[in-house]
Assembly symmetry: D2
Homo-oligomer: 243 residues x 4
């Protein structure tokens, strides 16, 4: 399984506290966790400032993991559409935390992807509401984050094809924090944990959740570029109802 | 719209505190709210101890509202199946609070309908996660219950066809507390508010929520008894593919 | 209910056979049917070549009906995004036939919206698979189109939130030809009938189907521009979990 | 994976033509196909007339495959409920053809499971509408059955959590012929191929479809009997919102 961890990689440069938490970048921490927990994964990383914004090789990517926050608009829309098309053809996509407003995720959802939020060290309990789902295998019930940014409802995404997790915040809000959508032959997972000023991706339970999601949305068959075209279909003689 | 409010009506007799809160029974309070807020409703009430357990007239019922708790098993399964069939043919069904374990609701869900719970005066915030849905029209965001029984995940029901509300509890849990399922031509709503030892159904916001649900699941067309039978279909000449 | 019927209006100019079938344009036929069958509708029409492509007044539109075919790419993407945002805020959207590839519909779906097709005078039977749904009220089971373009699976759209109709073609294919998706506070309906070289929109059963869809996706409450923004939320003292 | 193929096993005894097609019973043919195509499957068979109706060992069953037709009512309802509970706790269930009216399937669906039907040697094309889904891996598009019983809409089941296949019949009907529902930790698949008077289960493409479904609904984790109970939950000190 070829996994590409994509990170905007700006917070680490702008905020020394983030750099201290993630000396190898958020992508570095996620890549290390993936290598450790997904034995069959061939993991690469890419960032916004890479050549081609790091997305030159979508055809050779099975699962794309996305983290971004402040520079969503620096990604050309054509690349967001390219990601959408790769997903439709079978690639898995995992959007993390503030990637809810990233262009690829918005393109795949077809909504505003808005939510309410608050940075105030809320305690978060992330509860699995789909018992037995593989994305929650080995994840405690609930997954407790001692301090995290609050993301709250309404979360303006299409009704998930699989709603997996709901978060509770000490400030009084709730959030659909783990969900999956089908898009063509590909699947999209969203997981809310991951604000950059907390050591969230060093938490073994979060690492388990994220890497489970990577495994879950991995392609289940060969790439399907046919799902991007509208072919005219002749009536095959052997199919002809009236023939 | 012919509405039947069905209440087990045992808690009111066994517990003076409940009788004091609901001198006309839980059904009485719900009927009064429905008469007040659903102008076109013709409201009747029934209880477990009525003749025929109060269910003799399902054919003339457009929406059946159900409250029960300790005596679920006293309802014969045949009547639960009769309710299920009426729903399939188009009747609306609103299950309230502990009716999650009532025989009609379990029959309609096809699961255990289990959950976790705690009676400890939790504060509850019920958040709408489907903005603009008519069941939440005029309901504050969030709907706050100062004290209520906690119902928590996992709630073992099928994934709702419409997930509308999620509750937060001060003890740290969450719950999918407002949802709708399609069953044949009929619709089933579940709403968690309504523990009998609190004045929940005297709360105008809860009354609004419950009566909105009654209006929402009301039949959208004539009764469909055909959906209960499996007719053999001749090939109509005008439909014949090969003719 | 303020209904805007939008038509690309090119086929009528390029193809005399289409002009003969629809002397007032496809939009004219659809507008007449809507005026006749939706008594409370205030119906306007617009075309691609109008000023602002006819979309200057989305804020004052409750339901937007869309027909397009060959000139999808002449609509600026910003306007497709504006339609998406209007839907998220509550506007209804009805995509007809070849509008499956229109920019607003693709934007709302998040997929390629591909399908297979054939122009060969197939017979079509459109079956309701959601008995009792208001979009099929008064529509025969099946709705028979003596001759129509074939649209076949796979139809690369997200799993519908409500799958309502499936079509059979004499050539041997099937198609999910009537469906609804929720997008924020708004709803999107897709209906496949409507190839321009057949008198489909003069068929009373199709008129019923289309106008039922217009009524169904009409807003159920006031416009919700808040669903387009991501506000920071202070912890209200009365909501504070730990307060 | 422990697979139990359950067959009513009455048609084979009552109808010599069925016995000739399936000398080892429908269960024998299905078991042989499963042994051949699912290498890790430990396959057993059971029939209605076995001791305990063949269902004594649900706890040791990972996937239960069900075929029945004329004797549905001879299975005690308690056993249908036991199957439902096993599914909720994680067991997979595959209902084949006329098992749409079997007591376990009806119990799991919560509807009438009615449909229309015709025995008249219709040609059937079963189209995948979920491209890339593992249940259709290696299955031709469409899967063609030269002659089969027609099953038509409306099929009165809850909206599937995954609609995978739709059938076309030469008589002019359509049917949602392959679908999956989530029930607690378990999954239920329905596949319509399999009328007993045709050699359907000797068709390699159907064998592939059925065995793919067996693999798909196999448990994804350990058994979850906790999903059948409603435990009272103390507020754990480490979870306490206000602590």
């Amino acid at each position: 399984m070829r996994v590409l961890i994509w990170n905007e990689h700006r917070a680490e440069q702008a905020n020394p506290a983030v750099a201290a938490l993630y000396p190898d970048g958020l992508h570095g921490a996620l890549a290390a966790a993936t290598r450790s927990l997904v034995p069959n994964a061939d993991v690469r990383t890419a960032t916004l400032d890479d050549a081609g914004h790091g997305l030159d090789d979508l055809d050779a990517t099975d699962v794309l993991v996305w983290w971004g926050h402040r520079a969503h608009d620096e990604l050309p829309q054509e690349l967001a559409v390219a990601v959408r098309d790769a997903v439709v053809a079978g690639m898995g996509f995992v959007a993390l935390h503030s990637a809810h407003l990233s262009r690829p995720f918005v393109q795949l959802m077809g909504t505003s992807c808005a939510l309410i939020w608050r940075e105030s060290d809320d305690r978060e309990h992330l509860w699995c509401v789909a018992p037995g789902h593989p994305i929650f295998a080995g994840v405690p019930q609930p997954l407790v984050l001692a301090r995290h940014e609050m993301y709250g409802e309404p979360f303006v995404v299409p009704p998930p094809d699989e709603l997996l997790g709901v978060s509770w915040y000490s400030g009084g809000e709730v959030f659909r924090s783990a969900a999956v959508w089908q898009r063509g032959a590909g699947r999209v997972a969203y997981l809310s944990p991951g604000h950059e000023t907390y050591p969230i991706y060093h938490d073994p339970a979060v690492q388990r959740l994220v890497t489970n999601a990577i495994s879950y949305v991995a392609p289940r068959g060969g790439r399907r570029p046919d799902l991007l075209a509208c072919p005219s279909a002749a009536t095959p003689p052997f199919l002809g109802g009236g023939a």
